[in-house]
């Protein structure tokens, strides 16, 4: 069990233990080093933002953490267990679940079914080929609650393919939450959402973070400043700095590389 030692920021505030931590994570794509020696600690009950210019390697870090692509070097541990060599589905079952940058739903299924699929496995109802479909009704209440949380309850019988882009993202988050993950990785959850949805979603994220760890990639700095406890800035595959939003946003290097003269 590694105890987080933070290079910057409010080290004096006692943080809960790191649920997910990575050490020396690196990835090379045929000579191009996309991620270099990244150390990361994600803590329980905190929202951790991963920001950085486009192409900095944020999505790649996500892919590495969830084992969707194998890392070139480094170790990852989840709740103290080493998951460096674990299969992606297994990692998900252990409680590390992600959403995708390009929205990912089951298009020809209704919203309710979308969420229910995610509920099936944790409830031991995934391999039952001998029971009737009706036996899944016990999951409906829970599924509906999740849809409600993202404001999609009224559309529960529509097909996911009929949704607009923004709503697909909302559905995806509901599906992800269905797994009740211990660590939630969100890749630009607010991208493409209308103004009206952004604040709802941001609220949702900080609420779910109360009893789990959240790591998110986000370009909407307003939201980052409002809901994220920790911010890690990635540049050219390397960690530029880590700290709270205040510290990070005043770092001249971060302003130059990422934020420009914009204020949240």
């Amino acid at each position: 069990m590694t105890v987080a030692v933070l290079p910057f920021g409010d080290a004096h505030v006692e943080k809960p233990r790191a649920v997910l931590s990575a050490r020396g994570l690196s990835k090379t794509f045929g000579g191009f080093q996309a991620v270099r020696n990244v150390d990361l600690d994600v803590h329980h009950a905190r929202v951790h933002a991963l920001i950085g210019p486009n192409g900095a390697g944020k999505t790649t870090v996500f892919n590495l953490l969830t084992k969707f692509i194998p890392s070139t070097a480094g170790t990852i541990s989840l709740d103290g267990a080493d998951i460096t060599r674990t299969a992606p589905a297994k990692v998900a079952r252990m409680g590390l679940v992600r959403s995708f940058q390009i929205s990912a739903t089951f298009p020809q299924m209704t919203l309710l079914e979308n969420v229910r699929v995610a509920l099936q496995r944790p409830n031991g109802q995934a391999v039952q080929f001998w029971r009737s479909l009706g036996s899944l009704r016990n999951l409906d209440r829970q599924a509906l609650e999740l849809l409600e949380r993202v404001g999609l309850q009224d559309m529960r019988h529509r097909l996911a393919s009929d949704l607009s882009y923004g709503r697909k993202r909302a559905l995806e988050i509901a599906t992800t939450l269905a797994l009740d993950p211990r660590v939630l990785l969100l890749d630009e959850p607010l991208a493409g959402m209308g103004q009206e949805d952004v604040s709802v979603m941001a609220g949702l994220i900080s609420e779910v973070a109360k009893d789990r760890a959240v790591l998110m990639v986000e370009h909407n700095l307003k939201v980052v400043s409002e809901i994220c406890h920790d911010v890690t800035v990635l540049q050219r595959g390397e960690i530029l700095t880590t700290g709270d939003y205040e510290t990070v946003s005043n770092d001249p290097r971060v302003r130059a590389a990422y934020m420009g003269n914009e204020d949240a």
């Binding site: 995708f100 089951f106 995610a118 496995r121 995934a126 009737s132 036996s135």
Partner: protein, 325 residues
């Protein structure tokens, strides 16, 4: 997306109200029980066999989205095992059928293990190639009797006292197997497991991220489909009392696809209707002037171009449209 998906969303049960559905099932059952009084029993049995085979195939294609071009291996393989079990080991019919199904499971597990590593068209090509390999195996293996096949397989006595040599006994035995198989498929499709299969078909990456070991699910579905196809093959060996190479050729794999396509991919009844049509067509063509392959080929093209949903699929769609109005 609706149009691009090979498998139609399942609309079957929605097509009628519960009492109506029950009535339809009863009429269907009565028709099957009475069929041998009006039609040539062997012919009806053959249709039942192929209907079961096509339904097994459809379990994979229609509900998992995997197009197998090698299902003949399970069908024909099981037939060989059953024939061999009866002829050489002296198994009673029920055990021989069981042996055939086990054989199909083994073959299915091996082929499936390799094939599920790729998707879509690759999957189709791999199953085709592997089943062709199995064909060569059957051709060259000493116990399959080469071109002659295993002939003169006795039907024996079911449970030691029902003489399957009697056509009617055999018919009801086959009918029983058919109903059992169809029920199994229906159950699998409309089960929690079936729902997972559907989600995998829709978006595999997402399914993985939800913690589902996608390959294990696919392999299970593949093996289930193989087992039921094997059940059909074993039964066929007993009906016709032989097992030959014809049932392991790639043309046979093609035929089962045609049956499913004609009847309606992803519908419960489609493969049954399709099998009935194709088998009847073959019999009609057998005494006509038309070259069979040309007709088969043309039917394939026509189905794909004009009524992809198949006969049952089109009817169901029409009912749904009509209801909306």
């Amino acid at each position: 997306m609706t149009e691009t998906s090979l498998s139609q969303p399942f609309v079957g049960p929605a097509a009628g109200r519960a009492p109506l559905r029950l009535l339809a099932v009863c009429i269907g059952f009565a028709a099957l029980v009475a069929a041998p009084m009006f039609f040539y029993p062997i012919f009806v049995m053959k249709i039942l066999c192929f209907a079961l085979f096509a339904s097994a195939f459809n379990l994979l294609l229609g509900y998992t989205g995997l197009l197998s071009f090698g299902h003949a291996a399970f069908f024909g393989g099981a037939a060989y095992v059953t024939a061999h079990a009866v002829k050489v080991w002296g198994f009673p019919p029920e055990l021989a059928v069981l042996a055939g199904v086990l054989g199909a499971i083994v073959i299915g597990a091996v082929i499936g293990f390799l094939a599920i590593r790729r998707q879509g068209i690759y999957f189709a090509m791999i199953t085709l190639a592997l089943s062709q390999m199995f064909y060569f195996f059957c051709l060259q293996a000493p116990f399959t009797g080469g071109e002659d096949g295993i002939q003169g397989v006795q039907r024996g006595k079911l449970l030691g006292f029902i003489d399957l040599g009697q056509t009617m006994n055999m018919y009801y035995f086959v009918l029983g197997i058919f109903l059992l198989g169809i029920f199994a498929i229906w159950r699998i499709v409309n089960s929690p497991f079936g729902a997972i299969l559907k989600s995998i078909r829709e978006n595999e990456t997402r399914a993985i991220s939800l913690g589902l070991s996608v390959n294990a699910y696919k392999l299970s579905a593949f093996v289930m489909s193989a087992a039921i196809a094997g059940l059909a093959g074993s039964t066929k060996a007993l009906i016709f009392q032989f097992a030959t190479l014809t049932d392991v050729t790639w043309q046979m794999s093609g035929e089962v696809i045609l049956m499913t396509l004609m009847g309606g991919i992803g519908t419960l009844l489609g493969p049954v209707v399709g099998a009935g049509l194709v088998v009847t067509l073959q019999n009609v063509l057998a005494t006509s002037e038309f070259p069979v392959t040309v007709i088969t080929g043309a039917t394939f093209m026509l189905c794909v171009l004009t009524f992809r949903r198949g006969i049952v699929g089109e009817i169901e769609a029409a009912i749904v449209r009509w209801k909306r109005r």
